[in-house]
């Protein structure tokens, strides 16, 4: 098994038994990916906003770049609701995954949300 730590922010914290913040320690099968984790905690992928793994941004509201990312023992995953904002000027230059860079190159790198238009 792979042991991971998750923090859920916003109303999706209900998936972890919290009000607006929930911390969970979970054991997932070896080879589990982000999609597995979301299924495990009962979080609809469409309700998932920004997603971090170990301080690296892997996904954004309306994008689906993290689904197949593998989880490793000791990982910390932070997941935000789709209502959480993060204006570009406050994330310009942060670390992000290669898959998310590719997705943003396709859909635009500066948008606040990718749910309102293509």
């Amino acid at each position: 098994m792979t042991s991971i730590h998750i923090t859920l922010y916003g109303d999706i914290a209900a998936c972890g038994g919290g009000k607006y913040i929930a911390n969970l320690d979970l054991d997932v099968p070896e080879g589990a990916v982000v999609d597995t984790l979301l299924q495990e905690i009962g979080l609809d992928p469409d309700e998932r906003g920004y997603l971090f793994i170990n301080a690296v941004l892997h996904d954004a509201p309306g994008l689906y770049a993290s689904r197949e990312i593998s989880l490793n023992d000791g990982d910390h995953i932070g997941i935000f609701s789709i209502r959480h904002m993060w204006p570009y000027q406050y994330r310009d230059g942060i670390r992000m995954s290669a898959a998310l860079k590719t997705a943003m190159a396709e859909h635009g790198g500066m948008r606040n949300t990718y749910r309102t238009k293509d």
């Binding site: 971090f52 301080a55 509201p61 993060w86 000027q89 310009d92």
Partner: protein, 576 residues
């Protein structure tokens, strides 16, 4: 103020097009000698509502711009605030209020402005009092629930971290034009408070009502449909402090005087926790509006453990400055210190960074919440230490022998670590205002004309991006709209067009979305020229030295943007 007189003047043709930040900066640039002492007789204190302030139902349009030469930075300064003042000044038919000179009798005054004119009244009953009491006294003394623009004890003492308070709809002093010490500039004019009553004022002339209405609807629809700004959206639910956990997860949250990018107690002082406290204590509120007509409502009223209102509001920069940056994870103490800032008249960003300098200097341990709160009592009592603290970060750092000083042009950095979030660092370094997180709001790249030329995910092109964002911000700061309209109008082109059309409708100027950046650049040029004449050069557009060599965990990054990139941002103004 020298002879306690006032005069109404028509707006000169050279300033006719301006409002808000554009107007305060144009007046300061034309009428203030750039090399003057900010607290001396040759500085001026300028107040201006935006283009659309005071118009019927323009959404979230209650920002007031305050301007002058800053005692904190030595640069030109525009700092703006919510609260009641913008709409009331505009409805009196005033484009700006300019305070000049200093009382010869060394006395303090309350200026009362209404449809009948201006009166100069003794402020003896307000001296030495904090802004909570000042607001209360003035609402009892004057009818019609007026706007109150005021300074606390820090402004009276003319210290460089004095902000300008504006009362909110509940007559509380939580709305501040905090940055840059303009409260000291107001204090140097001998003015403790300005009362503005717009009853029976002439209102705002609207040149083209149909165009205004069209623009207003587009903008309103954008705000109310976007995930971030709509009712129950991110800002409405968690306030600006919705960012605390995000920036922390990204490793960009300045922690313990900019020594780390993550704070283990971040979630305890976040917007989510504010919302939980409000619900658990069955008191206070989220989704609070800081001025009439705001439809975003990102403010909050934070209750104490007994369910009594403690302060409004605990927003992101404040919670970070007085929390994570000082290693403090107790939201109640953050709120108590915020209330102290609101009462004394301190900018919370500068105040939190100042406390962190005391901790960095070893006089307090990081995380010492009682000790941190005690520092505000030093300021309240105006002890020698309190006076140093009231001068802000650089003075305090010198007093405590600190060399890791997170400032640009004398103003301390807000809640985004430039080593981890490099784009904001370019704006911190080059802004005409010193380190300022509101100086460069992102707008849609295709509208700004940089869409096809700049890769936002690369280090290349940061200078052009920063300039474009700074110009867009200068425009929005001139409208009277809250800067947070930038979020929906970035994603919804109709909202962008609506903002420009509403301005065009009010003013009669032929402004479209295409004009936003050029007009914003005009404002920046005015400001940059003033700074040049005040002695600032490209060498002042630099981040703090320690960020170049000290690695920031968890990503262990240093500042890597080259100086030449910083120099590019304003090379179009003066070639330097």
């Amino acid at each position: 103020m020298g002879d306690l007189s006032h005069a109404y003047e028509e707006v000169p043709a050279k300033w006719e097009k301006w409002a808000g930040r554009g107007l305060t900066s144009a007046i300061v640039a034309d009428e203030v000698e750039p090399t003057c002492h900010p607290l001396g007789p040759n500085n001026k204190f300028v107040i201006a509502p935006g283009w659309v302030s005071g118009t019927p139902a323009a959404p979230s349009s209650g920002r007031t711009s305050f301007g002058g030469k800053s005692p904190l930075t030595g640069t030109i300064k525009e700092s703006n605030s919510g609260g009641l003042s913008s709409q009331k000044i505009a409805k009196l038919g005033l484009a700006a209020i300019i305070l000049e000179g200093m009382p010869k009798d060394d006395k303090w005054y309350t200026l009362v402005i209404n449809k009948d004119g201006v009166s100069f009244e003794s402020a003896d009953d307000l001296l030495g009092k904090g802004m909570y009491e000042v607001d209360e006294i003035l609402w009892k003394k004057y009818p019609n629930e007026p706007a109150v623009i005021g300074i606390g004890q820090v402004g009276e003492s003319k210290l460089s971290n004095a902000g300008v308070s504006v009362n909110d709809p509940e007559n509380k002093p939580g709305r501040y034009a905090g940055r840059g010490g303009l409260g000291a500039v107001m204090g140097a004019r001998g003015v403790k408070a300005i009362v503005v009553d717009d009853t029976d004022g002439p209102g705002v002339d609207i040149a083209d009502m149909e165009l205004f209405k069209t623009g207003r609807k587009k903008l309103t629809d954008a705000i109310t449909s976007h995930d971030l700004t709509k009712p129950t959206g991110g800002l409405n639910s968690f306030g600006t402090n919705v960012l605390m956990n995000i920036i922390n997860e990204a490793g960009g949250l300045p922690t313990r005087a900019f020594s780390a990018g993550q704070f283990e107690g971040a979630s305890k002082i976040s917007g989510e926790m504010v919302a939980e406290m409000v619900e658990n204590r069955k008191a206070g509120m989220t989704g609070h509006g800081c001025h009439p007509g705001c439809i975003i409502k990102c403010s909050n009223i934070y209750p104490d453990e007994n369910g009594k209102e403690l302060v409004s509001c605990v927003e992101y920069e404040t919670a970070w400055a007085l929390g994570a940056n000082c290693g403090i994870d107790d939201l109640d103490y953050v709120a108590k210190m915020t209330r102290e800032c609101n009462d004394l008249g301190l900018d919370t960003i500068e105040a939190g960074n100042t406390v962190a300098m005391v901790m960095e200097g070893g006089a307090l341990e990081f995380g010492d919440k009682e000790g941190a709160l005690g520092l505000f009592e030093e300021i309240r009592q105006m002890t020698p230490l309190g006076r140093i603290l009231g001068q802000g970060v650089e003075a305090t750092a010198k007093a405590f022998g600190v060399h890791r000083i997170p400032t640009v042009k004398g103003q301390s950095m807000p809640a985004y670590e430039p080593r981890a979030i490099k784009g904001i660092g370019v704006t911190y370094a080059t802004s005409t205002m010193g380190a300022d997180h509101t100086a460069g709001y992102t707008i849609a790249p295709e509208i700004a004309g940089v869409g096809g030329k700049v890769d936002p995910l690369s280090d290349e092109g940061k200078a052009e991006l920063s300039l474009t964002f700074q110009a867009a911000t200068a425009f929005v700061d001139s409208t009277g709209y809250c800067l947070f309209i930038a979020f929906p109008i970035l994603d919804i082109p109709d909202g962008w067009a609506g903002m420009a059309e509403s301005v065009a409708g009010v003013t009669g100027m032929a402004i479209t979305g295409d004009d936003v950046i050029p007009i914003g650049k005009e404002v920046l040029k005015i400001e940059r020229d003033f700074n040049t004449r005040a002695g600032f050069t490209a060498m002042h557009d630099r981040p703090p030295e320690f960020m170049r060599y000290e690695e920031l965990p968890p990503h262990n990054v240093v500042w890597t943007i080259k100086d030449e990139v910083l120099d590019e941002v304003y090379s179009w103004v003066n070639g330097k």
